[in-house]
Symmetry: C2
Subunit: 236 residues, 2 copies
Amino acid sequence: MNLLLLEDADFVGGERVRLSGRRLKHLHEVHRAETGDRLRVGHLGGLMGEGRLIALDAEHAELHVSLDQPPPAKLPLTLILALPRPKMLKRVLQTVSAMGVARLVLVNSYRVEKSFWQTPFLEAEAIREQLILGLEQARDTVLPEVSIEKRFKPFVEDRLPALAAGTLGLTGHPGDYPACPRAVEQPVTLAIGPEGGWIPYEVELLREAAGLQPVQLGERILRVETAVPALLARLF
Amino acid sequence: MNLLLLEDADFVGGERVRLSGRRLKHLHEVHRAETGDRLRVGHLGGLMGEGRLIALDAEHAELHVSLDQPPPAKLPLTLILALPRPKMLKRVLQTVSAMGVARLVLVNSYRVEKSFWQTPFLEAEAIREQLILGLEQARDTVLPEVSIEKRFKPFVEDRLPALAAGTLGLTGHPGDYPACPRAVEQPVTLAIGPEGGWIPYEVELLREAAGLQPVQLGERILRVETAVPALLARLF
């Protein structure tokens, strides 16, 4: 963790926080922290800055924090992602959060296995846990907004048009399409399919109902967890 | 697997192959293949094309193959990568292979934990296994060249200058450096550090001995498995 992320409940005074649990363990085992050490800290949803460790034992850590820097800007991106398999979902959530995606929509698709929707990793608390790990990795304090859409057609027809309005709408899909644009200046709505890709009906509906144009990233088929950072790094 | 990758030993005639083991299992369990099915195939190190399943049972599969297409071009890239932790190494090898990196050098760095060098995943056969998975994913037949350099300084001083000669030499490193260039036209040598990054001495030696200029990818700190596809997608 490259940033010690603090939540409201950690504050025991205006500039004083008290930690236990996972973050305390990390301070001991990974940072091998000692009283007096200075660490990068951030307030979830708020500012970042420096914390000074004023007390540390097996039960608790106390820090005096000084928060004066804004978090990095979010990518102006709504990512529409066909639900990946559970193990990949965890890593993709961390990546999405670390790379600064503003909004993530996990959506069904014909090639998403039905069993994927049963995973406990889709529970709100489990999603939040992975997003927090991504923020700690990348040094950010602002969680992406995540929503879940179990039905593709009503989402794309009824809600995606408003989400995508005024943005550059793109569907990542291998095939005879224009190359994914580079270094765009405007906000983007990007749809990335499941393993095996979107089916033609889905590509068409994304285009017709919500204006998302198919773009490709070359002839190599990438896993979702590789395609996500590759497409994001190319777009922004 | 998006490509059934065939090795010399699989061929029982000029256009006839016989498979067992992992690939047979995959044909049964994932493809649910049946006699007569047509599959994308490739010959390791050679051409790609189509295979027709002419026999299939619990013990073997036989295919008639027709190979007439070249594999996708490699990225003109030598990637110098500080050895990642073993679990991440496996995934990064797959990514490197899937994205078409021509040459990979796994190198030591001050912040690489010594224990990482003990992993069985560094054995030649284990590396090859992950690279093959990457080729099968991306539909490629040509393995990247992989070499292992356990001592940073002699590698950078004595061998890297020749590897990097005539290429655009870059070190990915967070900090007050120019942004990583986009869509370059020439071959690239790119050094990516370990978790925690290169130390200043290493960044300097890469620059002084081998001409690799530090470049950054924004203020967010990415995991190696995210930074690799992000940097590659931006460069090429």
